[in-house]
């Protein structure tokens, strides 16, 4: 009789309260397993929630700017068609961060390497005895400039140079030190560019194809 009289209180003390305690402790209990799992997932970035591209163009009045505009259009179209869903999904719009003319500096390039997933540079370039010289607003991007950088623990995995001579002087010659230094000083894994001079029309076509039919990376 006594038990029956106090059944509600006993239920609270022996059933509900323990259940609440266990429930509240559940995240702590499973966290190590959950943590391990996410760590392994992070080996390959999914780019799901924070996909961002950095697009640079050092001279908006030059022909090379057409390539910049083409890349921008590719991502705008992508967002128009696919990136209009903000719900609990991976199909979020790809963020586009642009730096043109005076904003296309070495510092911004480093920032893009740090905070964006892909970087595209449309600029003039030339080949000297010291390797490729990519013209940015405040000076050339070259091996000497990259030597002065500290290690950038960034998100960027791929850099695309729509720049003449960015990867060599042409005729099959490929200049590796610039790429090696970028990869050494950042988390970039792949660099795409041109060996020798490239026609801006062809580069625009190619960039449009690269981004439009497949992806920027």
């Amino acid at each position: 009789m006594l038990l029956w009289e106090y059944k509600s209180k006993l239920m609270v003390v022996y059933v509900i309260l323990p259940l609440m305690v266990v429930s509240s402790a559940l995240p702590t209990i499973i966290h190590p397993y959950y943590h391990d799992n996410t760590q392994s997932l992070r080996r390959i970035p999914t780019l799901g929630y924070a996909a961002m591209v950095g697009l640079m163009s050092s001279d908006s009045k030059s022909e090379s700017h057409y390539v910049h505009e083409a890349v921008k259009e590719v991502f705008e179209k992508y967002n128009e068609y696919y990136g209009n869903y903000y719900g609990p999904s991976y199909n979020w719009p790809i963020g586009i961060s642009c730096a043109t003319d005076g904003a296309a500096t070495l510092g911004i390039f480093k920032d893009f390497l740090k905070y964006t997933d892909r970087v595209h540079i449309a600029a003039h370039g030339r080949y000297s005895t010291r390797g490729p010289q990519i013209t940015l607003h405040d000076g050339p991007l070259n091996t000497q400039a990259i030597d002065k950088w500290n290690k950038i623990d960034g998100k960027c995995l791929l850099v695309f140079f729509s720049v003449c001579h960015s990867l060599g002087k042409g005729d099959g010659d490929i200049y590796y030190p610039l790429v090696d230094k970028i990869k050494y000083k950042s988390n970039v894994r792949i660099v795409i560019g041109y060996s020798g001079e490239v026609d801006v029309i062809g580069a625009t076509f190619l960039q449009y194809t690269f981004g439009g039919n497949t992806s920027l990376g």
Partner: protein
């Protein structure tokens, strides 16, 4: 550990299909090559025909009359102007494509860099899973 992501995660492998940066590079080259071929094979012919017809239509009034000589001149216009226009426009585009193709270079160590865009299956609302 193998990773399987749905189409919506921008990365997939195995039966899900998908691209990475390297395959994107090769596909871009392939598409441009196809574009160049298409331009070469079809656009040139149609452009010659179009310009030729236009030239043949314009030539007789310019030289006057409907005599045989005017028809001959019209045909000459068709050939010369058609070829010249083709060379000047299509030829330039072809050269530009071929130049870009020959200069295009990728440097990587075989690392997998996933695509940013969705692949296969359209804009499915994704999930991901891992399997050993």
């Amino acid at each position: 550990m193998r990773y399987y992501y749905s189409a919506g995660t921008f990365y997939s492998s195995g039966s899900y299909g998908g691209y990475n940066a390297v395959s994107s590079f090769h596909r871009a080259k392939y598409y441009l090559q196809q574009l160049a071929n298409d331009v070469r094979n079809t656009a040139v012919a149609s452009f010659i025909a179009l310009v030729g017809i236009l030239s043949a239509w314009l030539a007789p009034p310019l030289v006057g009359g409907e005599m045989a000589i005017t028809k001959l001149i019209g045909e000459l216009f068709e050939v010369i102007f058609g070829a010249a226009f083709t060379q000047a426009t299509i030829g330039y585009w072809l050269e530009a494509c071929e130049n870009a193709l020959s200069a295009f270079v990728i440097i990587d160590n075989g690392e997998y860099v996933p695509s940013m865009t969705i692949v296969g299956g359209g804009a499915s609302k994704g999930f991901y899973d891992t399997t050993e």
